[in-house]
């Protein structure tokens, strides 16, 4: 036990300090609290769905929870099922074999049902495109609020995409606005 405590003390808190207010991420994080209070009134819960990814994007989605990015520190956490989620984070071109599972996950998610497509494949179909086995971009199957390009996008970009989705939905004043 003393080794664990010693290590924790030696490493300290390595979560990166909030960036200057004019930097995109910091601005987003500041907006987020405001957005979440107004739109959700609580912390954001995310369900991840791999709809056909190569698993590269999953590595970076894991990354958002490492001590440097510490997404949970912003009040945003990943949950185990769609019924607990406010947002779906979807990776991959949508494989035909995942199309039904993705639709059913979307249907099981309560409003506001935000969707962020992650990675070049989620945005456009990527290198796999559309074919007999792939439906291509996520928006071909379910509505998407924000799309984060990159192969794979870095954790900071993923977090930015999550924050963007929250503000896009509010600014559009859509039927899903809960205020």
């Amino acid at each position: 036990m003393h080794k664990i405590l010693l290590k924790i003390a030696q490493v300290g808190i390595c979560t990166e300090r909030p960036r200057a207010p004019d930097e995109a991420l910091r601005l987003g994080a500041a907006r987020l609290n405001d957005e979440m209070l107004q739109l959700l009134g609580r912390a954001l819960a995310i369900r991840h769905v791999d709809a056909g990814s190569c698993n590269g994007c999953e590595l970076e989605i894991h990354g958002v929870n490492n001590p440097y990015y510490n997404l949970e520190g912003l009040g945003i956490k990943f949950v185990a099922g769609p019924r607990h989620a406010d947002m779906l984070l979807v990776t991959g071109p949508v494989a035909r074999n995942m199309e039904e599972a993705l639709r059913r996950t979307y249907d099981a998610t309560p409003e506001p049902k935000l969707v962020v497509a992650i990675g070049d494949c989620g945005c456009t179909g990527g290198i796999f495109g559309e074919n007999h086995a792939s439906r291509g971009r996520v928006s071909n199957v379910i509505p998407v609020d924000a799309a984060v390009p990159g192969c794979p996008p870095e954790p900071a970009a993923i977090i930015q995409g999550i924050l963007t989705a929250v503000s896009v939905r509010r600014n559009s004043g859509s039927e899903h606005d809960l205020r």
Binding site: K3, I8, N65, G92
Partner: protein
Amino acid sequence: MRREFFDAHAWRATCEAHAGDGGRLGALWASDGPAVHALLITKEGSLSCASLALSGPEFPDVSDLFPAAARMQRAAADLYGVRAGADTRGWLRHDAPYAFVRVEGEGVHEIPVGPVHAGIIEPGHFRFSVVGERVLRLEERLGYTHKGIEKRFEEMSLEEGVRLAGRVSGDSTVAFAWAYSMALEEAAGVRVPPRALWLRALLLERERVANHLGDLGAIGNDGGLAFGLAQFSRLKEDWLRISARLFGHRYLMDRVVPGGVACDLQRAGVEELLEEAGRLEAELRTLRAIYYDHAGLQDRCINCGVLAPRTAAALGVVGLAARASGIAMDARVFPGFAPYGELQPKIACHRNGDVASRIVVRFEELFESLNLVRRIVDSLPSGDAGIPLPQAAEGSFGVGWIEGWRGEVFVALEAGANGRVRRCHPHDPSWQNWPALEHAVIGNIVPDFPLINKSFNLSYAGVDL
């Protein structure tokens, strides 16, 4: 590499003779024609391709000789309509209801899990038959991420194909890109310069370290030690950032290209890598002591998810999982591929086959990879990091064979006309190892499944293609 065509009888006889001599199956796939191809590896480590041109839709079943062939045969049936064996259920095609094997008896019930799982992981379906908490049987159904990769290759030029190969299983992008490049270089009949090979090895070891760091953290977390996840994910992030700074990509995608590598290493980079290796090694020694001393974690991991050496051998398990079950196989060492002959890596091996053994193997491979990184940067040959590749002739064929972090990766590549891909089959070691997970979980309790699964950490995308 030797490639021979046989008729059905002789093809089956070749496979039988091969299995009888202690050989194993690397990969099995079909192509237009139709034809079926088996990559065979002898006990002495020599590789050959036995091909069979078919006149009808049936080919001889070899799953009695090589159990891992069963799912490869089903994939061939779905992609090319050529059948073998009694199991006619679709593997990659999901258009018909799927009949899981029913376990019956008093108190037996089923737990269906997936394809959408509870964590941040790839999709697949697991059907557990349990009594109380105890697992009697696990049946996997995969194929959910099938996205037509093998057909997609056929729309690409030979040079473009490496980008797709690097996205068969993103966590093994270096291994697949190298295997693809090795196959294409064999088809084109060229040798790449030594500096390119050494840099490829450096990238491959970086990929191994990144994945082992991630897995050790995740295994600790699944074993109830969240401290482990925090520490290892911090170390992994440090590692990825240095990869991005020195080589241009956190996961090293598109760094290995046919003819060489698309990056180089300067003197300042060498210093940084040596400094990084020293720092990480010190951290790992501390964390290893904590993992090995932690009673709660050891209690979860020892004797959990045992893959007995005999079972592993019978199933033809490969890579890290094989090494944790007493099978000392590592393609870097035997038969070896350049530049590993000069680097002389040590094989990490353990006999118990449980989750704890797979942790031990990962730790030992981390230390060995750091040693290899030091050796590589200390004596990196000078010269070019790549050469222009001549066009591979139509019909030329090559196979790449690389020991990735998970196990051996193959890419079989046949060139078409005008520098196009005629047929490319990428093979992930998870083909061999997924069936072993079904065995390792028997008799364990359901809550230990995530821990057991993570200790193997097999690829879904890599086998769904």
